[in-house]
């Protein structure tokens, strides 16, 4: 039995009029102004009120995600270049470390600027709470800054010295150098990898359908971090090489290109995976695919010795743009899906 009994007992008045009527519980008859549309009842839902709150983050967060990724990628690339590439790649490592540091510097300010109450930024470190990706990220970023500082300090300590000069400086200096290397590599590289991927985990902790529990996002961000980091190193090396700084650009080109290509491949695979897992495709994300493909194509264009570095610079810039575009797109997709009254959980 229905709870209310209105029992009119007669046919409704003017059914044809009723069908055209607009009001609560009536679908608007097409192209109507906003308020009329609010009455749409074609889908079960609450007028056009989204179920979720849109993220309060500004665009700065995309820049943070991007720069954090670049920094982490550059850091990993440069540290590994030195560790496994040996003295040949030392200039590259120096450039890469500086790039990583330069990209890391704005990260904390960007994060703080995105807070509702920036003067309480230090509350992030009030507790250690790894189950919150953001808390974990805050600690990782802090620790990563430490590792980066160690790497920078090491670069500064051996500035202008040849490899063999450095080897015999006495016990204290050697021990300090060893410690700094340990911090920078053993501590720094895992931290950098975590920094690159935690942002992805962070977004998967959002309830919006575009992010929610999406296993592709951390992998995607990791891949993008490496590709953009390697590209940043390549760009810096080529650019500085142009102005006469010894950056080992020529020797680094080969390995860097492979790293970039593999990372791009990983990025493309994970991005396709991400796009296939969100309910509605995010058209802007194709921009990143195009940028990655473009970067690869650009780098492979036949060119002479003079043009080669410029192509590399162009390719790296395209890759970096793709990386920023990716972060921005994913963040915006979250905004959009939270604002969409159709996205219902």
């Amino acid at each position: 039995m229905p709870p209310h009994d209105t029992q009119t007992g007669r046919p409704p008045v003017g059914p044809q009029v009723m069908a055209e009527g607009r009001g609560l519980g009536f679908p608007a008859a097409g192209g109507a102004p906003a308020l009329s549309d609010r009455t749409a009842e074609t889908v079960p839902g609450y007028y056009d009120v989204p179920m979720l709150k849109p993220p309060v983050w500004k665009d700065l967060i995309s820049w943070y995600f991007f720069l954090g990724g670049v920094s982490a990628g550059a850091y990993v690339t440069s540290r590994l270049a030195e560790r496994y590439g040996g003295p040949k790649f030392r200039p590259l490592a120096t450039v890469g470390t500086c790039v990583a540091a330069a990209a890391a510097v704005p990260c904390a300010p960007l994060l703080i600027a995105d807070l509702g109450d920036p003067k309480r930024f230090h509350h992030m470190l009030r507790v250690f709470k790894p189950e919150s990706p953001m808390n974990l990220g805050a600690w990782v970023l802090t620790a990563y800054h430490g590792a980066g500082a160690a790497a920078l300090a090491r670069e500064w300590l051996r500035r202008g010295k040849a490899d063999d000069e450095q080897k015999n400086q006495g016990f204290v200096r050697n021990a300090a150098d060893g410690l700094l290397v340990a911090v920078a590599d053993v501590g720094g590289i895992p931290l950098a990898l975590l920094l690159a991927s935690y942002t992805g985990v962070l977004l998967t902790g959002g309830a919006t359908p575009a992010w929610c529990k999406n296993a592709w996002l951390p992998a995607l961000f990791s891949a993008s971090a490496v590709s953009s980091g390697a590209s940043a190193v390549s760009l810096a090396a080529e650019a500085l090489g142009r102005v006469g700084v010894d950056t080992a650009a020529d020797v680094a080109r080969g390995p860097l290109h492979i790293v970039q290509s593999v990372a791009h491949l990983a990025e493309v695979i994970t991005l396709v995976g991400y796009l296939s897992s969100v309910r509605r495709a995010v058209p802007a994300a194709w921009g990143t695919l195009v940028a990655a493909a473009g970067a690869e194509v650009l780098r492979r264009l036949p060119a002479g010795r003079r043009l080669r570095p410029w192509l590399d610079i162009g390719s790296a810039a395209l890759s970096l743009f793709g990386a920023y575009h990716l972060r921005s797109t994913v963040v915006n997709a979250g905004h959009d899906s939270a604002n969409d009254p159709q996205s219902r959980l």
Binding site: Q7, G9, R10, G14, F26
Partner: protein
């Protein structure tokens, strides 16, 4: 509430709100209780949880309808037809509570032969004077048969031997005064002593109810044409719906079950309002739902003390306690004449003189003596209708010099508000006391239809008022319950209570007139006017109050309660306070400001309005104090059968205890406490002696509930369906008599009426109240927490009407009535639906009346559309129904209104004093 008064004897809600929980079926009609009285609605929902059925009959599907088991949409203004249909169903199917009807109502009483029904005369009763648009009941034969001296004029006074049951000759033309008759027994101004139903015993009765002129048969005949089919045709509902509601009511009435009817201004604001309520009274009498738990008629009133303001009337035609204000041409020249005309020989009104004399002693003190007739002559006389409606018409014509507005806002809330504003513009001076600069305070500045301020001559004084927690006093709520509110803190700045203003104005005026020997000034100079505090008042936290000149209002309540002028209170040495109206005397030895409130302050330090004790007793007799004499269910003698036994165990409230020889039960008996059920008055008995032991309605001269009401309603002994003053259809029942024959009109260029159905105004409009706002907004549109909930003026209409007029949901529309036009946002909703009435489609719209041009939110004034017409009993206007035209778009003319106050999200962001930060409110967001 003469509607209730005419049926039962007193014009007030019969039961108390919590009693709704005891009901088995509640009919809400003319009330949107869930929205207008949300907290009161707690109680019917408790009944529903137990299995009771809730029924809502209303033009709109409201938040009340959403909660009810049955909803019936009807056309605005067709309430009597619907109720008549229910009465007809009860009678034709013999579903009435036969024992109850026979014993406790005047069903068996035989009416004079001359009486003719509307059925005989095409829509009017006998005694109608078409020129004066009024009834002369004496001519019409509205009286009872069986008088020994029919037509013999009475000498007056309570000592006169009761002689006539017949109508006495009318004592002059009716003024159509309002207010009175509320108590049902004594007559109103319109008919001084016309209704000679003043004697109980001896009237002719037919216990078989077969006599063609007995009230029961007359009733049957009167409602014979109100068949479900005919009613459905008038109301726009289905016949089955009428039957369904009637069946539910019948099934839930009788010995074991009771039903209640709840109404509010949806019934009263009609020119037939009194008769709609009468119809509910008749229905409840037939079903035996009066004076019993979960029964009765519950009037839901709109303001904190609206009941109190008629009990102690700020009304032009009443003295406190429902005594009529003396009139110039009603034989009220001297006190005895007045008592003779207005008192009754039998029933409680036999004590009229005691009430009047005690009132005069309260007002004029020692200056009032028996020799000078207690200064009876000092009271102002009325010689016509001076109620708000015609008085503002006078004002608009420049006949009024000065006016006081004490917490009222006619510029937005008065019927035909444009006329009210025109009235204010034609005053010499105006005093406004309120919390905010309301529409009425700012009428010279912000009214969109007025001239610029340079063109308004009125001198305006604004006195800032104290809020409720900043003053003490008592409110009388909808269940006649007086509740005292203590003063919590001093008002800020120059804010003062209204009592302060009146008291100090009185003192200033007395000073201005000091030494005057003119006769006209003596009433003022001798007015008792001393309410000084004995000790400087303190606030509850122990600090002294800093407000100078505040009167001690508990002294005012003591004066209202009454005191003896001969005995003193041993503990204080002051005059002894009275314990109730039974102690009142007519020899000038008692003073009492309002007899029905006597007993509220029975001893110094014992303010019963301030009682806040909870007990096991379900009627909660120690919470506040209800008039009369703390009775929570009036006419509760009805809860026992004629032998004094409860009708059923489930519904027992009061019963006769033979051993104690008195009426016992949880409630105070509304009956002589030791009159046994089998007492039968001797034929010549007077006063309360004339009320038999099985006659529960003691305010009635015959002690019975009136199915047939010889008085005091001025528009007929039986409720009859008339169309509203403005209606899109004719009167199906009485084509020759569309509107109520006694409606009073005040037509003029500012107050045009569409008397006949016209294509110019084909839509019916109904005003309504929202939960989120209050009246015309002075108490809500300055409050951001309420404004955000309903931020804009809108009009509700059906999708069908909207489609027809091209109106979009959320868009703008214009509503035009013969009085004016307003614009508002459209709320297109299926909660309103077109009805089929007499073969045509009638569209209805709903207009909330909360907006005006002053405040944080502003909007069109709904009352710019309503008309100034009056019902004959109480000068009630017809705000609930009028005709209009609806079109899409906006009004041409002045720019959109802007709020007069900026939006203030917080009342304050100041920290709470003496409170640690951890306990500060979270929402200050500092």
């Amino acid at each position: 509430m003469p509607g209730l008064g005419a049926s039962f004897g007193r014009g007030a809600a019969t039961n108390y709100q919590q009693d709704l929980a005891n009901s088995d079926c509640v009919l809400f009609m003319g009330s949107n209780m869930a929205e207008a009285h949300p907290v009161g609605f707690r109680w019917p929902l408790k009944a529903q949880a137990r299995g009771a059925k809730l029924i809502h009959v209303d033009p709109r599907f409201t938040r009340t309808s959403a909660m009810c088991d049955v909803f019936v949409p009807i056309r605005v203004g067709s309430d009597i037809a619907f109720l008549g249909g229910l009465i007809n169903y009860v009678l034709t199917h013999e579903r009435h509570f036969a024992e109850f009807v026979l014993a406790y109502t005047n069903a068996a009483t035989i009416v004079e032969d001359e009486f003719r029904d509307t059925e005989d005369l095409g829509g009017v009763f006998s005694g109608y004077d078409p020129k004066g648009r009024e009834y002369e009941p004496a001519k019409g034969g509205w009286g009872y048969q069986g008088s020994e001296a029919e037509g013999k004029a009475r000498k007056g006074g309570t000592t006169a031997h009761p002689t006539g049951y017949r109508q006495r000759k009318a004592g002059g033309g009716s003024h159509g005064m309002h207010g009175y008759g509320l108590m049902g027994g004594a007559s109103s101004h319109g008919q001084p002593r016309k209704n000679a139903t003043d004697v109980p015993g001896g009237c002719h009765r037919d216990e078989t109810l077969q006599h063609p002129k007995c009230a029961f048969q007359l009733l049957k005949k009167h409602y014979a044409r109100y068949t479900p089919e005919a009613v459905a045709e008038v109301c726009g509902c289905a016949p089955e719906q009428v039957v369904r509601v009637a069946e539910l009511l019948c099934q839930n009435s009788g010995r074991d079950r009771t039903g209640m009817i709840v109404y509010a201004v949806g019934w009263t604001q009609h020119t037939t309002g009194v008769q709609i309520i009468r119809a509910a009274g008749i229905l409840q009498l037939l079903l035996g739902n009066v004076g019993r738990p979960g029964g009765g008629v519950m009037a839901m009133r709109g303001h904190a003390s609206i009941q109190g303001s008629t009990d102690i009337p700020t009304l032009y035609d009443l003295l406190p306690g429902y005594l009529p204000q003396p009139a110039a041409d009603k034989g009220h020249e001297n006190l005895d004449e007045y008592v003779g005309h207005e008192g009754l020989p039998t029933g409680y009104w036999a004590n009229t003189k005691k009430f009047v004399v005690s009132l005069m002693k309260a007002w004029y003190g020692e200056a009032a003596t028996a020799r000078n007739h207690y200064r009876w002559k000092w009271l102002p006389r009325i010689d016509r209708d001076y109620s708000q409606l015609p008085f503002f018409r006078d004002m608009a014509q420049g006949k009024v010099k000065g006016y006081f507005l004490l917490g009222q806002n006619p510029a937005g809330g008065g019927p035909n508000a444009g006329l009210h504003r025109e009235g204010l513009r034609n005053l010499d001076w105006l005093v406004v006391m309120d919390w905010f600069l309301t529409d009425s305070a700012n009428f010279w500045k912000d009214a969109p239809d007025g001239p610029p301020p340079q063109g308004v001559k009125t001198e305006v004084f604004f006195f800032p008022a104290a809020a409720a927690p900043e003053k003490e006093g008592s409110f009388t709520n909808t269940q006649r319950l007086l509740q005292w509110h203590d003063k919590a803190l001093d008002p800020p700045g120059d804010c003062r209570s209204d009592a302060w203003l009146v008291y100090n104005l009185g003192k200033k005026l007395k000073a201005l007139y000091r030494g005057s020997r003119k006769a006209k000034d003596q009433s003022l100079l001798h007015l008792t006017w001393d309410y000084e505090f004995d000790e400087p008042p303190h606030l509850p936290d122990g600090t002294p109050s800093l407000i100078a000149g505040e009167p001690d209002v508990s002294k005012v309540l003591q004066e209202i309660n009454g005191h003896s002028l001969t005995e003193t209170d041993p503990s204080t040495g002051k005059p002894k306070l009275l314990s109730g109206f039974a102690e009142l005397k007519d020899d000038g030895t008692t003073a009492c400001g309002c007899w029905i409130y006597s007993g509220v302050f029975p001893a110094y330090g014992r303010n019963r309005a301030r009682d806040r004790e909870r007990t096991d007793n379900p009627v909660e007799p120690d919470w506040g104090w209800a008039w009369p004499h703390n009775r929570r269910v009036m006419y509760n003698r009805c809860s026992a059968d004629p032998d004094g036994k409860p009708w059923s165990e489930r519904k027992k409230l009061l019963w006769w205890d033979e051993q104690q020889h008195k009426w016992v039960g949880p409630d105070q008996p509304d009956f002589p406490p030791d009159t046994p059920p089998h007492y039968r008055p001797p034929p010549d008995a007077t006063g309360m002696d004339a009320i038999g032991g099985a006659a529960p309605f003691i305010m009635k001269p015959d002690g019975l509930g009136w199915l047939f009401a010889p008085g005091p309603a001025k528009d007929g002994p039986f409720p009859t369906h008339y169309e509203p003053v403005e209606s899109p259809v004719g009167n199906l029942f009485y084509p020759r008599q569309p509107d109520s024959p006694t409606t009073r009109y005040f037509e003029g260029p500012l107050n045009r009426i569409a008397h006949r159905p016209t294509p110019e105004y084909p839509v019916v409009a109904c005003t309504f109240r929202l939960t989120e706002h209050y009246l015309s907004g002075p108490m809500s549109r300055f409050n951001s927490w309420l404004n955000e909930l309903q931020p804009e003026m809108f009009v509700e209409l059906s999708p069908e009407l909207a489609a027809d007029r091209g109106i979009e949901h959320g868009g703008w529309l214009v509503v035009r009535s013969p009085r004016g036009a307003i614009e508002a946002r459209a709320m297109v909703t299926r909660r309103l639906r077109p009805l089929r009435v007499q073969g045509q489609t009638v569209h209805q719209i709903g207009i909330p009346f909360h907006w005006g041009y002053a405040g944080e939110t502003v909007g069109a004034v709904a009352n710019d559309l309503t008309s100034l017409v009056a019902d004959p009993n109480v000068s009630m206007h017809e705000g609930k129904v009028f005709v209009c035209q609806v079109t899409a778009g906006r009004l041409d003319g002045p720019a959109p209104r802007r709020p007069t106050e900026p939006f203030a999200p917080w009342p304050t962001r100041a920290a709470v004093p003496d409170t640690p930060r951890a306990a500060q409110p979270e929402g200050h967001l500092t």
